[in-house]
Structure formats: structure tokens, C-alpha cells
């Protein structure tokens, strides 16, 4: 009621206020939408960058005392790598490799079976609805 009265009193001001509200809704809507879509990726990149920076700083500090061209330096570094770290990295790499391979196989199997299942189910339920994933069972680009 009060707002209607205000609008009656000064319609231009009210229109400006409405436009401002619309813009702020649009602006914040996009901000939150962008954070929601890319937040994970940005956080990962920042942490990755931080680790890289720390390693680079350590190398720079060390390079002030020893020359990188020194062959002994490289071998010296390798000789200091602990066996626990080597085993850890090897096992982690193998596990990740196996996981990725298995995931690929799983996707291929899904792709092979999806059309078949759909065809059979449509025979039973002609109004069957779908989840709209890709044939590999992944999120569509538009739905990201």
C-alpha cells in the first residue's frame, strides 16, 4: 500500500528503484552462479599454484648455494628422496591409473547398454521419461 502510494507520488523514482533492484538481482545472481559453477576448479587451481610456488621458492633458495648445472646436485637430490615417498608415489600413481582405466571401461559399458535398456523399457512404458544424461552417463554441457 505504502509502496503504491510512493509510486503514485513519484513514478520515475519508483521505476529507477525497480531497475536498480533488477540489476542487483541480475548481478548477484550471476556472481553466485559463477562461484557455484567454477568454485571447485578455482579452489583446486589456487591450492595447486600455492604448492608450486612453495616448491619454486625452496628451489630458488637452494640454487643460491649450489649450481643447478652441477650434475652432482641432481643426483644428490635423487639420493635424498626417501624410499617411503617413492613407494607412496608409485602406488598412488598405479591406483589412479587403474581407477581411470576402470572408469573408462565403465563409461564404455554404459554407452553400450543405455540404448538397449531404453529401447526395451519404452516397449513396456511408452511414456518413459529420461534423466537427460549423455549416453556415457555424464552431465550434459548445458547442465553444468
Amino acid at each position: 500500500m505504502a509502496e503504491r502510494k510512493k509510486r503514485k507520488e513519484d513514478p520515475k523514482k519508483a521505476r529507477d528503484g525497480e531497475a536498480e533492484t533488477k540489476f542487483s538481482r541480475w548481478f548477484w545472481g550471476h556472481v553466485f552462479s559463477l562461484i557455484r559453477r567454477h568454485g571447485n576448479f578455482i579452489a583446486g587451481c589456487v591450492l595447486f599454484g600455492y604448492c608450486f610456488r612453495q616448491a619454486a621458492t625452496a628451489l630458488q633458495t637452494f640454487a643460491g648455494h649450489r649450481s643447478l648445472a652441477d650434475l652432482k646436485f641432481a643426483f644428490g637430490l635423487f639420493s635424498n628422496v626417501t624410499w617411503a615417498f617413492s613407494i607412496n608415489i608409485t602406488l598412488s600413481g598405479l591406483s589412479i591409473g587403474l581407477y581411470l582405466r576402470e572408469r573408462g571401461n565403465h563409461r564404455r559399458t554404459r554407452e553400450r547398454l543405455t540404448a538397449r535398456i531404453k529401447e526395451l523399457e519404452i516397449k513396456i512404458d511408452p511414456n518413459r521419461t529420461s534423466s537427460h544424461l549423455t549416453s556415457e552417463g555424464l552431465t550434459r554441457r548445458d547442465d553444468q
Binding site: S24, R25, W26, W28, G29, H30, V31, F32, S33, I35, R36, G39, N40, F41, A43, G44, L47, F48, C51, F52, Q54, A55, A58, L59, T61, F62, H65, R66, F73, G76, L77, N80, V81, T82, F85, N88, I89, S92, I96, Y99, R103, H106, E121, I124, D125, N127, R128, T129, S130, S131, H132, L133, G137, T139, D143, Q144
Partner: protein
């Protein structure tokens, strides 16, 4: 002065941290999403088989609504995280007007039209199981909700005793999510998306 051993330790830590970042921010979420979708697909298939057995028609509103909600959860499963839901709430608060809520109303009306009490009960159970899957996905993927779950689990175990750890776990998950997340809104979105 830094010696080679210290440098190697720093490099090892940096490499291990990079590996951890890759696992935590890429591989782990992908795997959790795959598992969630797989479980929801299995539940949807079970519902399909249930309808095929003739206990409820494929065109019955209760079946269609349930399938619609499951389809929405499968489609937008990647957005079912505490972080994403909070941002979605903020988006609705500041960016877009809240969409109308009518899925729950339709569901209640549809379930009331099922004459067979056993079938009605089974459909409600299907619905509860789908909500449980969503709750698990939300709670087990968020450190904040995990902490709340842990407290809830302790309280649940004190109340139920060690006799039923699974029941205490399920109850803690349900309590955690129902206090922090608006499920009616989530279902509404899922149904609209399908």
C-alpha cells in the same frame, strides 16, 4: 642454510600436496557422483520393475512423480553438494525469485489416490530411499555436515545403544539434513529439471 635433504623434503611435500589436490578436487568428486548416480539408477530400475509387476500403473501420478524426482536428482546430481546448495539459496535470495513449490502437494495428493495400503507404503519407502541417497551424498561430501553428523551419531548411539549402529547412522543423517537443508525445495527443483 638449506641443505639438499631439506629441499627434497619440501619438494616431496609439494608433489604430495599437488597429488592430494588432484584427488580431492577432481577424482574424489567424480567418483562420488558416479556412485550416487549408479545407486539412484538402481533405485529407479527397482521402481520400474515394481510398476512392471502390475502393482502400480506406469501412468499413475505417484509413479510418474517419483520417477520425475529421481530423474532430476540423477541429472543434477553434480549440484547436490552443501556448497552448491548454499550458493543456490543465495542465488534465489539475491538473484532470482523463488520458484513455486507444488511437488510435495502433488505427491501427497497422488499417494492418497493409491488404494492398496501395501503399495502406498512401498511407494513411500521408494521415496524415502531416494531422499536417503540424496542425504548421504550431501552429508558425506561436506566437512561441515560431517562434523554435525558425527555429533548426531554420538547422540543417536547413546539413545539407541550399540544394538543398531546402522539405524543410528541413518537417523543421524536424516536429522542432520532435515535441520540444515530444505528437502521440499530440492525435490521441487529436481522434479522441475527432469
Amino acid at each position: 642454510m638449506m641443505d639438499a635433504k631439506t629441499l627434497v623434503t619440501i619438494l616431496e611435500a609439494a608433489i604430495a600436496s599437488c597429488g592430494l589436490v588432484i584427488v580431492v578436487f577432481w577424482l574424489w568428486p567424480c567418483m562420488r557422483l558416479d556412485i550416487f548416480r549408479q545407486k539412484m539408477f538402481a533405485l529407479r530400475d527397482e521402481l520400474f520393475d515394481y510398476a512392471e509387476s502390475g502393482r502400480i500403473g506406469f501412468n499413475h501420478p505417484a509413479y510418474r512423480l517419483l520417477r520425475q524426482s529421481m530423474n532430476g536428482f540423477i541429472r543434477y546430481g553434480h549440484r547436490l553438494t552443501f556448497f552448491q546448495i548454499n550458493l543456490m539459496m543465495l542465488y534465489w535470495k539475491f538473484g532470482a525469485s523463488q520458484p513455486p513449490m507444488d511437488w510435495t502437494e502433488k505427491w501427497n495428493r497422488a499417494i492418497a489416490t493409491v488404494n492398496d495400503e501395501q503399495v502406498r507404503e512401498n511407494l513411500v519407502k521408494f521415496h524415502e530411499r531416494s531422499i536417503m541417497l540424496v542425504s548421504e551424498r550431501l552429508v558425506l561430501g561436506s566437512p561441515v555436515l560431517l562434523l554435525v553428523l558425527f555429533v548426531g551419531l554420538l547422540i543417536g548411539l547413546f539413545n539407541l545403544g550399540w544394538k543398531s549402529a546402522k539405524a543410528a547412522f541413518n537417523r543421524a543423517i536424516a536429522e542432520t539434513t532435515s535441520r540444515l537443508i530444505d528437502f521440499e525445495r530440492l525435490e521441487e527443483e529436481a522434479a522441475r529439471a527432469a
